[in-house]
């Protein structure tokens, strides 16, 4: 996504479906697990086609990255001669729940860490391997694979205790206006969820499906890529991948989606 002003020139072909399902019948529809109290997954704002694509494992294009991640899981890399599975064994067991409860406070670092950072920390300390670049095929594959092990589990992040100051920072970021357009996350995703911005329907900006496969990009993107895109849409200088600002924001936005099921890999327009 480049800039909001430009982005919305890209008409969503299946708009009428999105309007019919996402907006007008919002209250009437029963979204099952995709709605918890007043909180709705981005899934409920999508077209019928993308929803069908997401839930069918054989059709979901993001599953290619999950499969790639499964290969990386058992591939030895680095000077220590280890793979992820050397330490963690069966991911279906050991990684279950990670996608639902990260980011978490890392006591050693004295701040939050998210899944990408945990992966690179393991690669460094335990495998003596080079870190993966953010948005690299490897990083997207492994984060997709790890988060996918929590498919369907309700998002549940810890926001009290040591996490509280980071949560507060993330929350402040969410409500802060920025950019030439002078807009906050909340103005689009809290105040206007369900409304059309030109051809796009605004969702609540939930992150329970990340990395999400974007039809527009023909590949998955990380949470931080999405944050950068939304910052640039309002003509604001984005923060870096893995910056403290975005990891704090990630915790806050994840909390906004508490109870929603992990959907990785979600399919979005």
């Amino acid at each position: 996504m480049k800039f909001f002003w430009r982005d919305i020139t890209l008409a969503v072909a299946t708009l009428s479906v999105a309007v019919g399902v996402g907006a007008s019948s919002a209250n009437a529809a029963d979204w099952g697990p995709y709605q918890v109290e007043d909180r709705r997954s981005g899934y409920t704002y999508m077209t019928d086609e993308s929803r069908a694509m997401q839930v069918d494992t054989f059709q979901n294009p993001g599953m290619l990255w999950v499969e790639e991640g499964a290969d990386l899981w058992t591939t030895v890399d680095g000077k220590a001669g280890k793979s992820c599975s050397t330490c963690h064994g069966d991911a279906a067991e050991s990684m279950k729940g990670i996608g639902a409860r990260y980011p978490v406070v890392d006591e050693g670092m004295g701040k939050l860490k998210n899944v990408e950072q945990q992966i690179n920390s393991c690669r460094g300390k335990n495998m003596e391997a080079a870190p993966y670049k953010w948005e690299s095929k490897e990083m997207l594959s492994l984060t997709s694979y790890v988060n996918h092990q929590s498919l369907g589990l309700p998002v549940s992040v810890k926001v009290d205790g040591a996490a509280a100051p980071f949560f507060e920072k993330g929350k402040a970021f969410y409500y802060e206006r920025r950019g030439q357009l002078d807009m906050s996350c909340s103005q689009c995703h809290e105040d206007n969820a369900g409304n059309m911005v030109r051809a796009n329907i605004l969702s609540e900006g939930q992150i329970n499906g990340f990395p999400t496969y974007r039809l527009k990009w023909q590949k998955p993107g990380s949470t931080h890529r999405r944050f950068r895109g939304c910052n640039k849409q309002v003509r604001s200088t984005p923060f870096g991948y893995g910056s403290d600002e975005y990891v704090n924001l990630e915790l806050y936005v994840k909390w906004r989606g508490r109870g929603l099921p992990v959907e990785t890999p979600a399919v979005r327009n």
């Binding site: 020139t9 920025r178 950019g179 105040d191 059309m196 030109r198 604001s236």
Partner: protein, 150 residues
């Protein structure tokens, strides 16, 4: 051939100027009773040019948020702001001008961007920093266009 060249570069210069008034050349204006009574350029705007700025997605992009029945040939009107049908009957020219220049002077919580303001913004992308979204002339053209929405 040289003729074409001059034309092209003149055109490029116009494009560069569009929507990029920098802070020091910002037109001064007075707010009186929640309105800016006088034109930013000292001249009346051109409604036809204003309609183009209004629609243009890199300039006003007003349809991102607003609906206008007269522009129904344009696809996808946003639903974030109110319809602007009949807006000229609800507001006078000075009120419309303030709404476009700095909607936040009217409602500090509005999502509507200020189209002629450079101050008080946070972390603006470098290429837009210190620049207004519309030039004074474009603001006047848009105001002239809004005045046709009766």
């Amino acid at each position: 051939m040289p003729k074409t060249k001059t034309l092209v570069s003149a055109f490029a210069a116009i494009l560069l100027m569009a929507g990029t008034a920098s802070a020091d050349e910002l037109a001064k204006y007075d707010v009186v009773d929640m309105a800016i009574p006088t034109s930013l350029t000292g001249k009346a705007g051109d409604a036809a040019a204003g309609e183009k700025v209004f629609i243009n997605r890199k300039l006003g992009n007003c349809l991102a948020c607003h609906q206008v029945t007269a522009l129904k040939a344009q696809p996808f009107h946003g639903l974030i702001g109110p319809t602007l049908d009949g807006v000229a009957e609800r507001y006078n020219e000075g009120q419309l001008r303030l709404q476009v220049v700095n909607a936040k002077a009217i409602n500090p919580d509005t999502i509507m961007p200020a189209f002629y303001r450079t101050e008080g913004l946070h972390r603006v992308l470098k290429k837009f920093d210190g620049k207004t979204m519309l030039s004074a002339e474009q603001v006047e053209d848009v105001v002239a266009y809004l005045k046709t929405l009766k």
